[in-house]
Structure formats: C-alpha cells, structure tokens
C-alpha cells in the first residue's frame, strides 16, 4: 500500500443510535492497524478533519426518516464508489420502523409539545429503498469482526465472507442446548440471519432477531410452533416486530397475526 495513496473511508449517520459506527472504535486491538491502510476521510464521530469526496468506501448507518435525509442519501451515494450499509436501521429501518405500522401523526402528538416544529416522514425505511447498495451488513448492533471483514474484503478487492445461514447453525456449532426444545423459550433462531455467534441462547434466552431474516425463511412454520406452545397472537406479533420489524419476512409474518 505504501506507494499508492490510501483508499478514502467515509462514515455517514442517519436515524440511528450510533452503536454500529461505534463498533469501529470498539475494535480496540485493530483500530490503529486499520487506520494504517485506509484514510479516514470523513468520520465526524471520531474526527474534526473532513476531506472532500469522492470516497472509495462509504459506511452508512441509520434509516431514512426525514425529507432532508431522503435527499442527503442521494448525495452520499453520488460521492461513494462503494456503499455499504451497517446495522438493522440501515438494512431494515430499525426499531424506529415501528412507526410504519401506526399513524405517525399520533406518534408525533404523543411525544411533541409543538408538532409543527418537526419535519418527519411517516415511515422509517432502509437505505436500499432509496439508493443502490453494494453490500448490507446486518445486526443490531453489527458484529465488529464482520465489519473488519467487510473493510478487509474491500481493501483486497474480494467479496466479504459473511455467512447467510441461520442462528441455529451457529448455535449447534457452539454446542448450545436448544432453548426452544428443552425449555420452551420462544426463539427466532431458525429464521434469523447468523452473525452474533448465537449469543442469546448461550445466555439461556431465545434469539430476538437482531440480525433480521436469513436468506430463505419459513416464518409461518415457526409461528405455528410458537402458537402450539402457547404464544398468543399479540405475543407473536411483538416477537416478529423487533429491531428488524420492517424486513419483509418478519413484517409479513407479524401482519398475518394481527
């Protein structure tokens, strides 16, 4: 890399909690090495310095919830050679997509003293609804090692090695006992995208779908299983309506039980 100029990285924030971009600063052991190979050109949370675009790699966190942001994402896309969305907000609309199932005016009135000051869209939508996305990294929050893998793949001009299978597979790999079969705890593991290393079942709780739906889901079969184990319809709706509520497979399943 020495002779060539380093590729430029930009990190952008839309409606989010900052957790996914913080994952980069949570790479305590790797941060300085990564900074040796890539020029952090625009990352406001970490630096005052801003270099002008175009950027070779843009990491986008957060969902689109305001008219201003719906415009801004196009500007980001125009300045970015590769655009990678990071986290459930950017890939599925996030927890704030719960507004999509309600009347946003009612929401505004619940929490606003002066609703007229607020400019908000009635939905929270993923970045891919607005612009072309080169790669989506899932999770609420993302797994920082997967983020390093994405950056590494980009630097070496290869496809990121991120498995699309279910949390169940990870669970078996780490030899956790199935919480659903042995303890009757509702678990979204069979329909949820891998990435967290089946964390929740290893702490004796069911998966609650941080990484969103896996590639080919059979949510209705799982929902039937939930029903036969005593979960009521409203509980099933809530189970699918979490941090990836607006991801297609989860949205359709939750709507089927309303």
């Amino acid at each position: 890399m020495s002779k060539k100029s380093k590729p430029k990285l930009a990190v952008w924030k839309f409606a989010s909690c900052d957790g996914c971009q913080l994952s980069l600063l949570d790479c305590e052991d790797e941060l300085l090495s990564v900074a040796g190979f890539i020029d952090i050109a625009n990352f406001p949370e970490a630096s005052r310095a801003v270099s002008k675009g175009p950027y070779d790699l843009s990491l986008v966190e957060g969902s689109i919830t305001t008219p201003h942001d719906a415009e801004r994402i196009h500007k980001v896309r125009r300045q970015s050679k590769f655009l990678v969305t990071i986290g459930a907000c950017a890939t599925a609309g996030g927890i704030q997509a719960l507004r999509n199932f309600k009347d946003v005016k009612e929401f505004t009135n619940i929490v606003y003293a002066n609703p007229k000051f607020i400019d908000t869209l009635s939905t929270s939508t993923p970045i891919s609804n607005h612009v072309y996305v080169d790669f989506e990294l899932r999770g609420c929050p993302i797994n920082k090692y997967q983020l390093l893998e994405v950056v590494n793949a980009f630097l070496n001009n290869r496809k990121p090695n991120i498995s699309p299978h279910s949390v169940c597979i990870e669970c078996k790999r780490r030899s956790s006992v199935c919480v659903m079969v042995t303890k009757n705890i509702p678990c979204l593991g069979p329909v949820t995208h891998a990435g967290c290393n089946a964390l929740c079942p290893s702490y004796d709780r069911g998966c609650f779908g941080c990484y969103g739906p896996k590639e080919t889901t059979n949510t209705s079969s799982l929902a039937e299983w939930f029903s036969s184990n005593g979960l009521k319809n409203d509980e099933i709706v809530r189970t699918f309506r979490g941090f990836n509520a607006y991801a297609d497979a989860f949205r359709k399943e939750s709507e089927a039980h309303e």
Binding site: S16, S23, R48, A113
Partner: protein
C-alpha cells in the same frame, strides 16, 4: 467593530448530529444555539403496547454508547412498579456492569473525543502518530471496560443479559477473576490518565453551577439514590416531575430541561463529583488530592480530569465487587406483572437518566417518559457558550470556533439520546 458568525454545521467528536451557531454583532453576543438535528425516533410512542420485559432491550437502542444506562433505568423503573427490590450479589453485579460502561464510555471520551482538542489534533489517529503509547494505553483501558460488559452483558453494544429481576445467566466466578488481573492494570492506567489529563492546558472558566445528581448514603451513586443539588434539593425519584420540566424549542429536536424555577442545571461527572466526593474510594480521593482537584470544582473544561477520576473509581469498585463476589444460586428473582406506575433514575456516564412507565395488569406499557442527561444539559451548554464567547470575543474566528466546539464537548453530549420529545403538559396517571 467586531461582528462575526460562528457556524459549525456538523459537530465532530460527539455522539449524534448537532450543530452550533453563534452570532456576534458590535462586540456583543446576539444569539447562541446548540442545535440538535438528529431525526426523532419516537421511542416513548412505540414503547406503548410493548411488554414491560421488552423495555430494557428496546430502550438500549436509544444510545449505542450508553445502552446499559437505559437498561438499568428501565429495569429499576419496572421493578419499582412491581414492588421488587434487588439486593445482595445481584445488586452488586448490576453495579459491576455499570462500572464497565463508565470505564469504556469515559475512556472513549477522554482520549478519543476530547483530548485531541486540548492538544490541537483533529482526532486520536493523528494524536497516535505523536503519542503512540498514550493512544494504545487508552484503547487497552477502554477494552477493559468493554471486557466487563462483554462478560456480564454478552456484548459491548446492546448487551443481552439484563432482565427485569436480574440477569438471564451469570458467568462462573473464574471468568470474573480473569478480568480482575486486567483491572489491576487498568486501575494503574486510570491513575496515569488522571495525572495526564491534569497536565493539559485549561482555560480559566469557573462558573456558578446548579449541580444535580443522585446521592446515596453509603456509596458513590450509580443505580439508585435520592436526587440532590448544591442548592438544597433533596427529593425521591417519583418527585422528579414536580421539580423539573422540559421545553420544546424550535431549533432543537430534543427537549430541553429546566428546573421549575426556570434555571439551568448541570448533570454528569462534575455534578456527581462535587456532590458525592466523600463517597469515592480511598485511592480515588488520594489521587484527586495529588493532582489538587478536590471539590468545589467549577471549571467545565476540567470535566476531563473528573472523568478520569471516575474511571479510576470504576476500576477500583469493579475490583472490590469481583473480590467479594459470591455467585448467586439463581440469576434472577421471579417477577409477575401488575398494573401501576414506576420511576427510576440512574447515573449514566453523562448524568442522570430518568424513566417513568405505566403498565397494565398484563404488563403492557401504557405510557413511557424518558429524560436523558444531554437534554438536561442542553440549556447549560448554551449558557456556557454564551459566557465563553463573551469572555473570548477577540479570538480569531477559527480559534474561537474550535474553542466553542470544545466547550460543547466538555459535556460529552450524546445527541442520539437527547432526541425525542415529550409532552409538556403533565398527564394525570
């Protein structure tokens, strides 16, 4: 005549999206706005209709830097409704988890977000070129805090192991002991951090503040206590809304908090430190004496040293808890929903975080109110900016702009947290 406009469209090295506008005309400050333009996400609205057991995981998503603060405030508020009191080792473990968040959040702020201001760097990566060992040590110290959160919470960001009534699972004592060796190193690193921050150049900027924090007779406050101030406030948490109101101003997507008497007030490390110094551990008090930084401490720029002292305390307290740890037989106590309203306030790294919930017999949330520390500090931040600019009106524009940014960063503002709106009128529960 000196007239200028200072404008920062996107504040750097803070959490979230904020901007700054200062208008100076004929040597007078005409207008100061610390603007929050983070899009609203409506947490209080969509919490309605969710189950009370979901509140810790949902509210954690308000902030990726201090999710544990949200988890702790929400579980304590729910336990307040259910009449459950968590004592003994479970209470100690919650304290330990919170210490982990304080260590990682404070260290992130001290070294990566704030110190570059004092030394004239744009960021910590630049700083690392000249001070590689300092930045490496900072990352290692931050990681130690994250190790606690990882072990007891499952992961650093949005931990999954916290529940109303306790934890889902408690790791074996041997796993905690592995961390305690690292914590001994971290405690020394924190002492060095205190000394290093104390050696930074500080502007002379002592102010008269109203400090507000939790207070507890036997310990430095984290998860519980009464709310006190340096001007005589002493109330229980369920009286919070009788004493503090919020206002919604046009230039901000966050509600600002005011005491009923229409005064600004100050929450966070400086407030805690001034009001609870005597509850700090022996070593922390000793190091504070060594650097000659005992209360009263009224210079917000020196908040960076107080964060370092709190980091030292958190390392020391985490070590104490692990040494005395006796793993409880069950990770949680059983809880059953019942209708009612509950209140809690805990000390997030940035200051008091207030939660109130009303649930029905089934445990479904009917109403939620959350007041994060940054909304409470917002008025105070604007007041500091006004006074700082008045005092330094003749500085060159670039330098004054940077100093204004630093004045905001003194508070380690967390803008994702601050962005949400609450009703001004009080509802009769």
């Amino acid at each position: 005549m000196n007239s200028k406009t200072i404008k920062v469209d996107y504040l750097a090295r803070v959490e979230g999206e904020g901007s700054l506008l200062v208008k100076i005309k004929d040597n007078k400050v005409k207008d100061v706005k610390f603007k929050i333009f983070e899009p609203p996400r409506f947490f209080e609205a969509f919490l309605r209709g969710r189950h009370y057991t979901e509140a810790p995981d949902i509210t954690a998503r308000i902030c990726g830097i201090c999710p544990i603060a949200y988890q702790m405030s929400s579980i304590h508020a729910m336990e307040n409704i259910l009449g459950v009191k968590i004592d003994g080792q479970l209470r100690e473990l919650r304290r330990l988890l919170y210490c982990g968040e304080w260590i990682e959040s404070h260290t992130l702020h001290i070294y990566l977000l704030h110190a570059p201001d004092f030394l004239g760097y744009d960021d910590a990566i630049q700083m690392a070129a000249d001070h590689p060992e300092t930045v490496k040590k900072a990352l290692e110290l931050k990681k130690t805090g994250n190790d606690i959160v990882n072990l007891l919470g499952g992961r650093e960001i949005h931990p999954i192991n916290v529940r109303v009534g306790g934890f889902y699972k408690i790791p074996a004592k041997s796993e905690f002991l592995i961390i305690s060796d690292r914590l001994k190193w971290a405690r020394d690193a924190a002492i060095e951090t205190v000394k290093w921050t104390a050696s930074l150049p500080f502007p002379d900027f002592d102010q008269n503040y109203k400090f507000v924090s939790l207070s507890n007779p036997n310990e430095y406050p984290l998860n519980e206590g009464r709310l006190i101030s340096n001007d005589g406030l002493d109330i229980s948490i369920n009286e919070y809304e009788d004493h503090f109101i919020e206002e919604h101003v046009q230039h901000s997507n966050a509600l600002q908090s005011l005491k009923l008497k229409e005064e600004n007030y100050f929450v966070g490390p400086l407030a805690r430190y001034n009001l609870n110094f005597d509850k700090l551990s022996t070593i922390t008090k000793q190091v504070a004496n060594d650097v000659d930084l005992t209360p009263p401490m009224n210079n917000p720029f020196k908040g960076i040293i107080v964060r370092a002292l709190e980091t030292l305390y958190a390392c020391d307290e985490a070590l104490r808890i692990i040494e005395q740890l006796d793993i409880p037989e069950r990770p949680f106590v059983d809880v059953e929903p019942k209708a009612g309203t509950g209140y809690a306030c805990t000390e997030a790294p940035r200051g008091i975080l207030y939660h109130r919930y009303r649930i029905d017999d089934e445990g479904i949330i009917q109403d939620a109110k959350i007041v994060p520390p940054t909304s409470q500090n917002q008025k105070q931040i604007e007041d500091d900016l006004l006074k700082f600019v008045e005092k330094n009106i003749n500085l060159q524009k670039d330098e004054l702009t940077w100093k204004c940014e630093q004045t905001i960063r003194n508070y380690d503002p967390c803008i994702s947290c601050a962005t949400h709106f609450l009703k001004l009128k009080f509802e009769n529960d």
